[in-house]
């Protein structure tokens, strides 16, 4: 095993079984193999419905895997998220594995600034330092200062997403998963997110991302990972990445 791999996926398969819909079995993918190293941004490619988001969720342990392993370097050791106890997944997500989705999961009554500070406080930052870091990020992402002390429930989609991105990039996770973080942003803010990604890569963060925006994809991808249609089905042509 290469000694500095950050994320290693081996033999990964995912199948959904819908018990209440005639026990329909939906195979998504199987036999996936992927290594991600520090400073790399691997962009998932493949036609719509091929399982890009499902793979992201499986890596984050949000979905259970049907077979295979998701190994992440956590506190110096390789931990298999497919098999570890839930308490350890919580720890991996707090310290090692960051995730930025397409939408902010709003927590009632918690102001934008508090949402961005949370991952830092959870990692032992002082309130003062966490606040300074959160403010710097929200400023960079052009979120008006008047909104910082308000809960984002009433924010526009783009404003919520910028809070989400600030939260995702506040703490320096060694591994990050980006599921279309720029989808609801205007070009100026999209450029800032590209900058944030480049800075993280320069710091040695290992990234896996989904970007439908071709321009963003070309600017951040260090290589593509094409998910081919599930082995059990007839092969389908994959859109060029």
């Amino acid at each position: 095993m290469s000694d500095n791999v950050s994320l290693r996926i081996t033999g990964l398969a995912k199948t959904f079984t819908l018990h209440n819909q005639g026990s329909a079995v939906i195979p998504v993918f199987g036999g996936l193999e992927l290594d991600v190293f520090p400073g790399e941004c691997v962009v998932l490619a493949g036609r719509s419905g091929v399982g890009k988001s499902t793979l992201m969720r499986a890596i984050y342990a949000n979905y259970r895997t049907s077979a295979g392993h998701v190994l992440v370097r956590h506190r110096g050791e390789m931990v298999d998220l497919a098999t570890v106890a839930p308490q350890q997944v919580v720890d991996v997500r707090r310290v090692t594995l960051g995730h930025v989705g397409q939408f902010l999961r709003v927590i009632p009554r918690v102001p934008a600034l508090g949402i961005v500070m949370e991952p830092l406080l959870a990692n032992g930052w002082s309130r003062e330092d966490a606040e300074a870091r959160a403010k710097a990020l929200l400023t960079r992402l052009n979120l008006p200062e008047a909104l910082w002390s308000l809960p984002p429930a009433t924010f526009s989609g783009g404003e919520q997403q910028r809070v989400n991105i600030a939260r995702g990039f506040a703490f320096r996770y060694p591994i990050m998963l980006l599921d279309e973080p720029t989808a609801s942003l205007d070009p100026a803010n999209r450029d800032i997110v590209v900058e944030l990604i480049h800075e993280a890569l320069a710091d040695g963060v290992a990234m896996v991302g989904i970007f439908h925006d071709v321009d963003v994809r070309e600017r951040v991808a260090t290589r593509d990972f094409v998910i081919s249609a599930f082995a059990a089905q007839t092969p389908v042509e994959v859109e060029a990445a």
Partner: protein, 257 residues
């Protein structure tokens, strides 16, 4: 942050009412700083399980173990009755669905909050008064109402007094049974946020029973799904809710609004 030491463990706990089996062979463990949610429909046995785990209902079979006084896991029902009462009073806290079950309505709000402290041996009046005021503001109640009785409070305010009462003596483990049930949605959101903040700030271990999946998602690290007295699925909260494996859990999640 979740610790390594196990605070509470259930081994094959079965609860019966006559011929009815309320909980069937349930095993679980809870670590320091961890929040475990128990969800399931009415009659699934979740409250019976909570009652049994919290030392108030001896199981027909199985064991309930708690790290009594930090001295290692001890069979709760093997303790003498006074010792078990001491554990419940000093090391645990309870939040009932109905605040009237957890509060004494004829003594002041402040009195309710500090009574557990008094039972833990606190004797200094100024300290207790200070704690009462401190906790009232923590649960966002007007400190000027410290001497009023809970019977003069709204349901949501009573629930906040109950939470203060359950936490003021710094228990190591808190049991909550539908802590936001019966409250209107805006009060619920406020209470949830409050609970979530306190749980993190104090590093509490919590076992919370709810039928509301949104409450479970917001509060719990881990989830157990019960049906007909059995655990049908357990795991990381977002995994259970976003990728349910069991037929019943899939039904439950798809039925939630």
């Amino acid at each position: 942050m979740i610790g390594n030491e196990i605070l509470l463990e259930a081994r094959g706990v079965t609860v019966r009412y006559g011929l009815t089996v309320a909980c069937d062979n349930v095993s679980l463990d809870l670590r320091a700083g961890e929040v475990l949610g128990i969800v399931g429909e009415s009659g699934s046995g979740k409250t019976s399980l909570l009652t049994s785990l919290s030392g108030r209902l001896r199981p027909a079979s199985g064991e309930v173990l708690f790290d009594v006084g930090g001295q290692g896991l001890t069979d709760v029902y093997g303790l003498s009755e006074p010792e078990r009462r001491r554990v419940r009073r000093e090391e645990w806290g309870f939040v009932h669905q109905n605040p009237r079950d957890g509060l004494r309505l004829r003594i002041s709000a402040g009195g309710n909050i500090v009574e557990p402290l008094l039972m833990c041996g606190e004797r200094h009046y100024d300290t207790m008064r200070g704690e009462a005021l401190e906790w009232l503001s923590r649960v966002e109640l007007d400190v000027a109402r410290v001497d009023q009785r809970p019977s003069q409070f709204s349901g949501g305010m009573q629930q906040r007094v109950q939470i203060a009462r359950a936490l003021a003596h710094q228990p190591r483990l808190v049991f909550m049974d539908e802590p936001t049930g019966g409250l209107d949605v805006s009060v619920q959101a406020r209470l949830l946020d409050l609970l979530r903040g306190l749980v993190r700030e104090l590093g509490l271990a919590v076992m919370v029973v709810t039928h509301d999946l949104a409450v479970a998602r917001l509060l719990a690290d881990r989830l157990m799904v019960m049906k007909n007295g059995r655990v049908v699925e357990a795991g990381l909260t977002d995994q259970v809710l976003d990728d349910p494996q069991d037929a019943y859990t899939q039904l439950l999640v798809s039925a939630a609004m």
